[in-house]
Amino acid sequence: MPTPITNNLARRNRQSKPDRADRLFRYLIYGASGVSVAILLLMGWTITGHALPAIKQFGWGFLTGRDWNVPDLKFGALPLIYGTLGSGLISLIFAVPVGLAVAIITSEDLLPKWLRSAVAFTIELLAAVPSVVFGLWGFYTLIPILLPIQQLLHVKFKDIPLFSTEPSGSGLLTAGILLAIMILPTVAAVSREVLLVVPTYLRTGSMALGSTRWETIFRVVLPKAFSGIIGGVMLALGRALGETMAVTMVIGNTENISPSIFAPAYSIPAILANTFAEAQEDIHVGALTYLVLILFAITLVVNVGAIGLVKLVERGEK
């Protein structure tokens, strides 16, 4: 019988004979693992470096400037920040309840197992559809579905600012709904994972006190999973904020701040996709690079927050 060795010893076991292939392999691995780290650092550095002249030129006022006017070379980022965050928030309003419902349906035993797997599979496939295909579908199918509903709301509730502009099809709401569909798989998958690790004994304990299935879900399971679900939602929000193609095709592409969700708007990724290539003047390019930095920073904050929350949950499990 071989002497049992502990995990630790086995992993740190140094070869007495230095093995060349072994050493070469180790260097390759070390080198490769540095690549993605280097890319991320280089990315942060280049983007900040390129945006610096624009930051110096526009200052903090860029963030609150309401006017984005290329012919006059006046650049304020607020309409774009508004369009990005606005469409992102609208997407959460739709994606969170539906995503949670999918997560609960696929993690609790309300349905037979094969049906649960089928639902989970379908939702996962949704994540595979390329963004530009979603854009095409949104432009030709979703807009014709949403337009009559928007028109009805506009006619009935014209006085509410939210519905105050004449809907044209493209706009903040349409972009938000399309984004909701695109981030649904993320919300559903992360929530499902979190719900699945809620220990069964908590469910049993609650049922043994006479609560029904949904009382157990609302009072014990969801509170326990709460921070993990928020983490998943933030992860999805990060995706939504950076989403480019589909939004570009349905948001209306107008630098505009309107209280109405029917009004056309513009998001940072969309304006980059549409105008980055044709920007001529240095000041225009600078303003766009400043936008890249803002987008990079917003998604960074959202993602770091999401990772932190998910980590917190994992640590809580131990």
């Binding site: 392999f25 691995i29 280049t46 983007i47 559903a188 904020l241 990079f296």
Partner: protein, 288 residues
């Protein structure tokens, strides 16, 4: 307290509670069906508009001659470049995270940065690649937009995905296999190459295929790197068409021929992506 006067067991649940319980089940089911309906609509829409217009010329002629053959070749070229770059480096990073990382702090940092990289918007990756590759090649050599730059942009997107899935997959390999191999005198390299990677191979293939299917459909990273071309690309260093950019550039085109090209290209793109995606999943479930 303990009188044998027990409440009748056959008393129905109070109407409010039973309504809540049933109502929530129904509501959750309705929401789930609503959640699944877009996929069905997308599939139906793309198939019904894209499939009937499919012609053989589309696969032999470039866009300028009312086909999309150059876009298909462009997409394949760029995903190949991206795969050649990202798969070895990604798997190596995954091996580092799972097997080598000298201490937990470095491991956590590398993993954290990779996770952050997966969250960087693809348009930002595109602009970054434009800055670093396209502008540099314009300055130093005499080419700018190219399939090479497009492939690199896609590789940056795929790299962290492959790295993180590789790590996850390798962590599932039971530790006693490592012990057994090194107990027989195998070096770290031999253990990884002969025991761990073969054991993890099916799951690894799944992870890589999923990353590829993600890369094929990406549009934003190619906008300012590969750009677009109506005709065949001269070589890897010239502007190159791709299916996603074709769809984006022509989706609004009034010409019905171009419009049909967009739908059929979408049908073809979606088929490839879903095919790779589904076979990847089947592959891993079969392996298990």
């Amino acid at each position: 307290m303990n009188n044998s006067e027990t409440t009748k067991l056959i008393t129905p649940l109070s109407p409010l509670r039973s309504l809540f319980d049933r109502g929530m089940t129904v509501l959750a089911l309705i929401l789930t069906i609503i959640g699944m309906s877009p996929l069905i609509s997308v599939l139906w829409n793309i198939i019904s508009k894209g499939l009937p217009g499919l012609t053989a010329t589309m696969f032999s002629k470039p866009i300028i001659d009312e086909g999309f053959a150059n876009a298909v070749v462009g997409t394949l070229t760029m995903i190949t470049i991206a795969s050649l770059l990202s798969i070895p480096i990604g798997i190596a990073t995954g091996i580092y995270l799972a097997e080598y990382a000298p201490d937990r702090k470095i491991n956590r940092t590398v993993k954290f940065l990779n996770t952050i990289l997966t969250g960087v918007p693809s348009i930002v990756v595109g602009i970054f690649t434009y800055d670093v590759i396209v502008l540099t090649s314009k300055k130093l050599f005499d080419f700018s937009y190219s399939a090479l730059a497009g492939g690199i942009a896609l590789a940056i997107l795929m790299l962290p995905i492959i790295a993180l899935t590789t790590e996850e997959v390798l962590k599932l390999v039971p530790n006693n296999l490592r012990l057994a191999s090194s107990g027989l005198g195998g070096s770290r390299f031999q253990t990884i190459a002969r025991v761990i990677l073969p054991t993890a191979l099916p799951a690894l293939v799944t992870g890589v295929l999923l990353a590829i299917s993600r890369g094929i459909g990406e549009t934003a990273p190619l906008l300012f790197t590969a750009l677009f071309a109506q005709d065949w690309a001269d070589n890897l260093l010239s502007p190159t068409a791709s299916l996603p950019i074709l769809i984006f550039n022509l989706y609004n085109d009034p010409d019905p021929v171009k419009n049909q090209l967009v739908w059929t290209a979408s049908f073809f793109l979606l088929s490839i992506v879903l095919l790779i995606n589904i076979s990847a999943r089947l592959f891993s479930s079969r392996a298990r």
